[in-house]
Symmetry: C4
Subunit: 252 residues, 4 copies
């Protein structure tokens, strides 16, 4: 439920859930990668996540590891020109898209690219999936559709055009390719990524049997609005617990 109102003062003093251990920013990025892998962001070695730090360096997952094996100690650090500052592995050559984005959008703390299971279907369709339910409605607006696939993503000019096409959208379908999602912080990026995937899955199933009744756009806006400001309470933490139960070693 998209609300933070609580039903009694007594419970307001209670925690939502058991506390997480202290998490370094590198551990947060590894957790995000593992969570999203489990949600369908699982195209082998594809995908990059950048996480802007207070000193304007970026943390990024290494090029040669899959999202389900990433540990905190694998995370790389680069500067905004793409130079590697720290880390034992390599960085994707597709990093210019992220660099241009972080230069242009100071509101973006985290940027995610991959070819997720349902989002990529709509990228292939070059159409915007309808919003058919409350869960799908938790991110405001529609994904941008960036349809120009003329150049390589490691070209700076193309990266800038992609950033322009994104505008102030929270997420984008990259036509015939995959998705791109941004957020202020790790929890927001996570929430937007899983909401986009849910929306794409639901809309596909709805269309495959002839179409449904989209949510009233005004209701969509109302549901989504709080999540541009606050995180879904406890969501990131719950998903982090799931990953930590499955493999506590990811914190190493």
């Amino acid at each position: 439920m998209a609300t933070t109102e609580v039903t009694s003062n007594a419970v307001a003093a209670n925690p939502l859930a058991p506390p997480l251990p202290d998490l370094s920013p590198q551990a947060e990025l590894a957790l995000l990668a593992r969570m999203l892998f489990r949600e369908g962001y699982d195209d082998h070695l594809a995908g990059h996540i950048t996480y802007r730090q207070p000193d304007d360096t970026l943390l990024v997952n290494p090029f040669g590891l899959t999202w389900d094996e990433l540990k905190a100690s694998d995370v790389m650090r680069i500067d905004l020109d793409g130079n590697v500052l720290d880390g034992k592995w390599t960085v994707t050559p597709a990093i210019p898209l992220h660099l241009e984005l972080h230069k242009a959008r100071h509101d973006v703390g985290v940027a995610v690219h991959n070819h997720p299971r349902w989002g990529t279907i709509w990228a292939d369709l070059q159409r915007i999936p309808g919003v058919y339910d409350q869960t799908s409605a938790q991110v405001a607006g529609d994904p941008a559709l960036y349809a120009d696939y003329q150049g390589a993503v490691n070209d700076v000019g193309n990266a800038r055009r992609a950033v322009d096409a994104l505008g102030d959208a929270r997420m984008a379908l990259l036509a015939n390719h995959g998705v791109f999602v941004v957020g202020r912080d790790i929890a927001m990026a996570h929430h937007r990524c899983i909401t986009l995937e849910w929306r794409c899955r639901q809309a596909w199933h709805v269309e495959a049997v002839g179409g449904g009744v989209p949510l009233d756009p005004e209701v969509h806006g109302r549901f989504a609005k709080p999540f541009d400001h606050i995180s879904f309470p406890g969501l990131w933490e719950a998903m982090a617990r799931r990953e930590l139960r499955a493999d506590p070693g990811l914190l190493d």
Copy 2:
């Protein structure tokens, strides 16, 4: 098979299966949450289960834990006004719908809300899935379709209107949202939840290839009738064993 007739007197004296350990009501609720998660009631932090106790208090799952991690000791206790009586976590702000329901429907021991995988597709379609087979037919009648999505679920007036729309239905599709299922006790709520999900999955697959032959409504009624009175023999217990094999710690 929807019958309790047995084929020999000898076997009538045998147990159906190995006995479960003694289960507290809190353990029963945790088991139900885990069973339903496995069946597709798995939308992250979404979903609430209320379980009315003989003293008219309600047990409820906490707001900040997922259904697959819930343990007996995590379960909260509230009164019919939503005040927290016991428990270490918090309660969903969406609880008014459950409170109004339990005030209005004294026959309801357990109420379940979530956004399950196949049920939510039909909520998105705003249509009632056909009954195409015996397994789908084990709950009488059709789900109510509550299509008015004007207000917040934490508003008492809206909660009452939703309860009115449910009427005496055993289950409801909440348009563009999810499902709501009620039952006299835990085993009945479980059986109805999984039957609704099966019915929704089957009907979707049938429609996606052009439609099938729905079950004769009279046959539907005949199959379903006993389950308004008795549980499907051994079903709850079998699913409880599955969860206990997977994680005996859920009883803690």
Copy 3:
């Protein structure tokens, strides 16, 4: 490949695979239940398997256990009138269908009923799935479609009519219900069950995008023919190894 011809004399002397441990008939039935569960024969407590023994008693899975938890020691023994001879649990009240079948069809060593994932879709459609590929073609003929759903399955008269409708078919779709598959022995019943499920899954996916080109019926017949006489070499054994790796305790 549907052939037993081998390519060299040297290799003909080699075993196909490591040997299985000695398996009691009860262990064979438990293995079959677990294998089929993994293939989609997984509708909770639904489903019964009967396995005719040389003394004309039948082994049968108990009514109250799921197919994925069954152990050899759980298997029941009944006579052809349904009297329980041995075993600690109960027998399904739907057993008359199996009893009538074993009385009428002495060629049947094993009979399987359940509501599998893809087979039940076609039972719901009341249509015969096309044969679109070699794997689908490994069972001769089409499933019978038994469409009369007037009576209870625990009624002897209805059970006889169902057996008549099956005729000499190797498998049947029970309209708006599930499937029924017979075989001379455990390995043949297994092979037919998984082939029917494959055929149903493939045909659904083919129809959902507009239809394909069915296999020439003559080719279907040619592929299927050997499997009415010999087992698919090594198939049962390979699937048994998979179950034994997952849970060696099933032999207990």
Copy 4:
């Protein structure tokens, strides 16, 4: 991303990922079988992989083991006439197709046949799946469609006709049967197999909701071209690590 350009000299000196243990050719074949099983190449005992060695012998998986249980020590060695040279199990009678291929195509180091989940749907449809995204585009050209299903695959004449139909294609749909994929080495065969499966899955989902916009063939060609020469950097190694995490015993 289909490029090997790196963004800084510093990182160019770093490894892509932790090194794999030394792998025998037999271990490579077992790894490939396990990886592909996980990707949907999982039709029970179906499927054969041949791996040409420098001495013109072939390694091949045994007939009676599934791809998910294969260990290095299970792999067989045969000569180009199909005589078994080494190994404790048997070889598929369908081996002539592979033998003819390796005789005719000296550029082929590895050949894979199976009935994968999505590829076989298109074999059933007897149509070529469109290329709808970048991941689908990583193998040049279209699969050949070999539609003549008159003879047995263990007949040499039929095997030659199939090899002729393949021509210089990198992959083929065997009508009403399955797929056939070739590559210079293990990593290339793996990459082509998973790309074909992705392409088939995406195209099915696109068609099931009315069709999408195929990738410009020129862009397809451009994306695919490097992979006829170099492997996708680190892909094989990442998937090998996944299998080794799941079961280190596969190296035995």
